[in-house]
């Protein structure tokens, strides 16, 4: 049997079913792996080891009694610290929530718990999910397991580094403009941004409510499908969760892509990707064609406006959502003579520079006299992006692109240049604006620097099954993700 920490969730579930491994053994192995690596990588903000071991023991007892809660009962996992966890400190990476202990569980957490998945802990992230490198965490840096002088991507960088280094087979992240897919790309993982409304947002600390979605980070496509199935579905606690049943994702994932029409975006070809990224992505398109898909060019002229539109809409929504951090109901308070001084001081000390920047930007874009010119205009661009995508899907079933224009960049390289950091998201933000589903799947290592590159596949809304089928066929044929080459040199 393979080393436990490199086993996929599917393999662990099979070993639990056959009795070859217990949940306790698995959990102990992952805890030991984390003990060995986390001082270097900085992935966890809060570990719940005792709880994980206790839950593993309960899972083993259930299996013994023939009462497993699910196929994955006893397979441990970890959460981005943006998910509210009852009784477990939750900060969303922000100093302003230091010491906050939530009184309830997010729906994603509750459903994962109901499936029997022991909780290993809470993972580092850019403060309130604002960032593309995890360097905006209020607490610590997280390093990329492939090169510890480089960023893991962000904002779900702790989740990505933990999965890529074998501390957990899978983790939950969130994606508002690329925060699952970009770190997946930079750490050679599979990462999924489901259709908006596919998964409940209840108990996710809100950043930009019309864009935020939860999704899995895993080492294989099948594991992502499995974790997404566990939490997907309507939730009466989230009025924006889509009513009705979700399609099966694991079932039929190996159906192949013969005859599938895949579009490549004309406007992306000159969008400034690294040569190594372009080489691997061109090879990926050729592989998809070899597997039976047809590749054709589609035009999405409005996509070039995605970044400016996103960096008005997301800050506008964030400035409103983060108004709740006022030093009254939770988190830190800095004293002041009256409520305005108290609140203004609390927020100035509790928020980091990027969060303040976005609150300022959003407040400005929504303020009297500027609303139409900035926020209103961005909302119209959002309409254009959505209709461009809809037109493209008249011709094709999926759209392919790089996930990130570059491989992992060096720690500190972009921290002084917000605009350079924002451009990390150029291929991912239009998907959030339109609400579609997308996946990043490992495409190999760049010939330039030996670092991971991710292929993005964008599906129609609620067409996750086609997206998973294509990603699975690509992954299996490439044979990279679960090979020695697909693992970081730790």
């Amino acid at each position: 049997m393979a080393e436990i920490h490199w086993m996929t969730a599917m393999e662990l579930a099979a070993a639990l079913e056959s009795g070859d491994l217990s949940s306790r053994e698995i959990t102990e192995a992952l805890v030991a792996r984390t003990d060995a690596l986390d001082e270097t990588l900085g992935t966890y903000l809060h570990r719940t080891t005792e709880r994980a071991l206790a839950e593993a023991g309960e899972a083993d007892a259930r299996r013994k009694a023939g009462e497993a809660k699910s196929r994955f009962d006893g397979v441990p996992l970890a959460y981005k610290d943006l998910f509210i966890t009852k009784g477990v400190p939750t900060t969303s990476g922000s100093k302003i929530l230091k010491g906050f202990v939530p009184p309830y569980d997010a729906t994603v957490v509750a459903r994962s718990h109901e499936a029997g998945l022991p909780m290993l802990g809470k993972l580092n992230m850019d403060e309130f999910a604002m960032g593309s490198s995890t360097e905006n965490s209020g607490y610590q840096l997280t390093r990329n397991p492939w090169d510890t002088e480089r960023v893991p991507g962000g904002s779900s960088g702790g989740s990505a580094a933990a999965v890529a280094s074998g501390m957990t087979p899978w983790a939950w992240g969130t994606d508002t403009g690329g925060s699952i897919r970009q770190p997946a790309s930079l750490c050679s993982l599979v990462g999924v941004k489901p259709t908006y409304g596919f998964v409940s947002r209840y108990g996710m600390i809100a950043f930009a409510s019309s864009l935020d979605q939860a999704g899995p980070l895993t080492r294989t496509v099948a594991d992502s499908a499995a974790l997404l199935e566990i939490a997907a579905g309507h939730d009466e606690m989230d009025s924006t969760s889509i009513p009705g049943d979700r399609p099966a994702l694991l079932d039929g994932i190996d159906g192949g892509i013969d005859g599938l029409r895949i579009g490549v975006v004309k406007e992306f070809s000159g969008a400034g990707s690294d040569p190594g990224v372009t080489t691997l992505i061109d090879q990926a398109y050729a592989r998809l064609e070899k597997l039976g898909a047809t590749i054709e060019e589609v035009s999405l002229p409005s996509f070039e406006h995605g970044i400016p539109a996103y960096y008005l809409i997301a800050p506008a929504e964030c400035s409103s959502n983060l108004a709740r951090f006022d030093g009254v109901r939770y988190g830190a308070r800095v004293e002041g003579d009256d409520i305005i001084r108290m609140t203004s001081r609390t927020r100035a000390q509790g928020f980091g520079p990027e969060v303040k920047r976005r609150i300022m930007l959003g407040t400005y874009a929504l303020s009297a006299g500027y609303y139409d010119a900035y926020y209103g205009k961005a909302q119209k661009v959002r309409t254009l992006i959505t209709s461009d995508l809809a037109a493209a899907y008249e011709k094709v079933d999926l759209i392919a692109s790089p996930t990130s224009p570059t491989t992992a960049f060096k720690l500190g390289e972009r921290t002084d240049d917000p605009m350079a950091m924002y451009l990390s998201d150029i291929f991912t933000v239009p998907v959030n604006l339109a609400g579609n589903a997308a996946i990043s799947v490992p495409a190999g290592l760049s010939p330039d620097d030996g670092l991971p590159v991710g292929l993005q596949l964008i599906a129609k809304s609620l067409d996750e099954p086609t997206m998973f089928k294509a990603a699975y066929a690509f992954e299996q044929d490439l044979g990279f993700a679960t090979s020695d080459k697909g693992r970081p040199p730790l």
């Binding site: 009184p103 009256d338 920047r357 609400g435």
Partner: protein
Amino acid sequence: MSIDRRAVDHVARLARLDLSEDERAVMLSELQQILGHAEKIQALDLDDVEPMSHSVPMVNQVRPDEVKPSLTQADALANAPEVEDHRFKVPRIMEDEG
């Protein structure tokens, strides 16, 4: 349309952020840069385009108005920086009257 220092001060007040002088100076140059990037979309002719606030076209979601268990008062207050008589305590809100 460019943001100036007065606008930074005004917006900081609206956003309840007690920024330092240094922060205001840095904020001004960064916001100018980011908003400069937005000029491209300001120049687009979008008069005939409807604005979009949400990707899922949903009307109001309603549920039956039933009494159900919810957070206890103790749970709701547990994380508050200051509590008095089972309520959130805040500094004065109104100015003293003459």
